[in-house]
């Protein structure tokens, strides 16, 4: 095995998450609780790639991206694992950085569109002030130049400069969403993390906003993690996607392959829940709900709802196994135990 290709491949990676565990640890009146929202997730994102994260609500998607951008607050704590970025030409472990270097990284290199992004604008401050508060410190330009840059950027996103003088409540939901995207991308970051950027929007506006997001991503040549539970969005937008269930990644691969040929029974259910034109057959839902992560089931966390569950599934959690090139799955049924396939 030669070293060169491995290095070339590693250089392509912008983000490398290794065995990340993040729990919500609370202790009230002597009762301690631990919610294992992210439990051993490993993934990587390549340069100029849009990586999708899918899964039901309460599967740990948002917690995962919060830990990826280090926007964590107690009770959320990192138990183990690392998040390594290769941003602005230098590699760094996000959790080893001090606050000053972290602040230098944010916005210029790494930006985060948080969930409920329609509400990231302070309701009592004008949009211009929000831009100044959030982004000005990261640009390193004098104020007039910064404001010109903001206006140019807004024009690129087909927003009039007049929105800068508005209060958030004067804008429609779609406009606010676009302003938020503008806010997150105004410094042309190398990496954007978008947590459900289109959730509260109707499908028409959603399409516009997504197109805009992709356009921005292409224009500024950044990589992106896009979180949404809408498989249709993933099919249209993302290059690769990961499916999360109960705090774990259960399947990951190229979006086309994951949707066309899902290996994990959970993914299969997600995909078959999509409506298709011409198919009048009623959709079958998956029984039950994701488990309580304070007390997750033993073995594979999906086994109580899984139609293919075997005895082994109750005892041992399945490892992530390569089933095809770049396609990994954590399922005993999809990849039976054996020395040949376990990577």
């Amino acid at each position: 095995m030669s070293v060169a290709p491995a290095q070339a491949e590693a250089a392509e990676r912008v983000l490398e998450v290794a065995n990340l565990r993040a729990y919500y640890r609370t202790s009230y009146f002597g009762v301690s609780r631990e919610v294992r929202a992210v439990d051993g997730v490993s993934l990587h994102v390549d340069r100029n790639e849009i990586y999708g994260l899918a899964g039901e609500s309460s599967c740990g998607k948002s917690t995962l991206v919060k830990t990826i951008v280090r926007a964590i607050r107690p009770p959320l704590t990192i138990i183990e694992g690392s998040v390594r970025f290769d941003l602005g030409g230098r590699a760094c472990d996000l959790y080893a950085l001090d606050q000053a270097r972290l602040a230098g990284l944010r916005w210029r290199h790494l930006s985060y569109i948080l969930q409920g992004s329609m509400n990231v604008l302070n309701p009592v401050r004008r949009v211009r002030q929000s831009f100044v508060d959030f982004a000005f410190r990261h640009v390193g330009k004098p104020m007039p130049q910064f404001l010109r840059q903001v206006e140019n950027h807004l024009a690129r996103l087909r927003l009039e400069p007049a929105v800068l003088d508005s209060y958030p409540h004067e804008l429609s939901g779609g406009m606010r969403q676009r302003v938020t995207i503008a806010l997150a991308s105004v410094c042309r970051p190398d990496f954007i993390v978008a947590d459900e950027p289109t959730t509260a929007l109707d499908v028409v506006v959603q399409k516009d906003v997504l197109a805009l997001l992709c356009e921005v991503q292409r224009q500024i040549r950044s990589s992106m993690i896009l979180v949404t539970h809408d498989i249709g969005v993933h099919a249209n937008v993302t290059d690769r996607m990961g499916i999360m269930y109960a705090g774990r990644l259960v399947e990951e691969g190229r979006t086309v392959e994951v949707i066309r040929k899902p290996r994990h029974p959970y993914t299969a259910h997600l995909v078959t829940s999509l409506p298709r034109i011409g198919d009048a057959e009623p959709r079958k839902g998956l029984e039950g709900a994701p488990p309580n992560l304070a007390n997750p089931p033993s073995g594979c966390r999906f086994h109580p709802r899984c139609p293919l569950a075997m005895a082994l599934c109750r005892q041992q959690p399945p490892p992530m196994v390569d089933v095809a090139a770049g396609h990994r799955v954590a399922c005993w049924a999809a990849a039976p135990p054996g020395p040949a396939v376990v990577s």
């Binding site: 951008v69 926007a71 607050r73 606050q99 972290l102 602040a103 944010r106 916005w107 985060y112 948080l114 969930q115 409920g116 992004s117 509400n119 990231v120 604008l121 302070n122 309701p123 009592v124 401050r125 929000s130 508060d133 959030f134 982004a135 410190r137 990261h138 209060y167 409540h169 004067e170």
Partner: protein
């Protein structure tokens, strides 16, 4: 700002009346500068005269002109209310914002102090304060005492808002963008809290003036400095109501009621200027 105030004046009836009433009282208090007699002097005019052209509000049994005496009394009462309100706002903003934003142990410690102040009975404490201070009592001292007793309710109110703001998305965005705690609290949260602070300021003025009048009427303050309450105290001392000197009591009460109503109207209408959402709904449409 001027344009907005003009529009408020033009289109908000409450604001217009508030400005007129409060302005009237302020102008009246300003007349104290032109008073022909120092406020402490007695028997400068014939006593017990009813209102007439030469003595508009009549004269007291102590030989003071009620009109000029009242200019001093209203001025002192208003200054007193202002000082209490400003001082106690500083304390309640500091306590409320800090406690709400920091949470955890800080919150628990500050709020237990806060709740202690809420349950302390104010009136007996202020009476006790008078008996301890006696001759050294003055209105700045009383203002200080009342400011340090009158902030706790509003601190809880502000804390509640700060708590809710803390969990909003924009605060998370602030933290993510690397803003310091001080910047988040003062730049992002304070504008949101200000309408409440302003509202409570005017409320607090009304409360402190009311309590000051109560204490003065009973003689538990510095009775040599004329305030509205002190005037009524002296009127009672001279049994003015029994003797039929009604103007000695009537005018101070009338003016303090006008001041109350003026401040109240300002409080309910000025909110619309400070809160951009209601400002938009009501005013900006008119100013553009």
């Amino acid at each position: 700002m001027f344009g907005v105030l003009r529009d408020l004046f033009r289109y908000r009836l409450e604001f217009r009346f508030g400005v007129i009433l409060t302005g009237f009282i302020v102008a009246f208090a300003a007349l104290s500068l032109a008073s022909p007699y120092p406020p402490q002097d007695q028997f400068v005019v014939p006593p017990d005269l009813p209102p007439s052209w030469s003595y508009w509000f009549g004269t007291t049994s102590r030989g003071q002109d009620v009109f000029w005496l009242l200019t001093f009394a209203i001025r002192n009462t208003m200054l007193f209310g202002f000082s209490v309100a400003i001082l106690s706002r500083l304390i309640s903003i500091a306590f409320g914002m800090w406690s709400g934003y920091r949470g955890g142990l800080v919150d628990r410690v500050l709020m237990s102090v806060n709740d202690t102040f809420i349950v302390i009975p104010l009136f007996p404490l202020l009476v006790l304060f008078y008996f301890v201070m006696r001759d050294r009592m003055s209105w700045p001292l009383l203002a200080l005492a009342m400011a340090s007793l009158g902030w706790a309710y509003d601190a809880r109110l502000i804390r509640a808002v700060a708590l809710s703001l803390k969990s909003r998305e924009f605060t998370q965005q602030c933290v993510f963008s690397g803003m310091r705690t001080r910047e988040i609290v003062f730049q992002e949260h304070l504008p949101y809290v200000l309408p409440i602070v302003f509202y409570t300021t005017l409320n607090n003025m009304n409360w402190s003036i009311g309590l000051e009048v109560t204490l003065s009427v009973l003689g538990f303050t510095d009775i040599d400095t004329p305030t509205v309450g002190v005037m009524i105290f002296w009127a009672n001392q001279h049994t003015a109501m029994v003797a039929g000197i009604w103007w000695w009591v009537f005018f101070p009460v009338l003016f303090v009621v006008i001041l109350f109503i003026g401040l109240f109207l300002l409080a309910i209408s000025i909110n619309e200027y400070i809160d951009p959402r209601s400002r938009l709904a009501r005013i900006e449409g008119a100013s553009r």
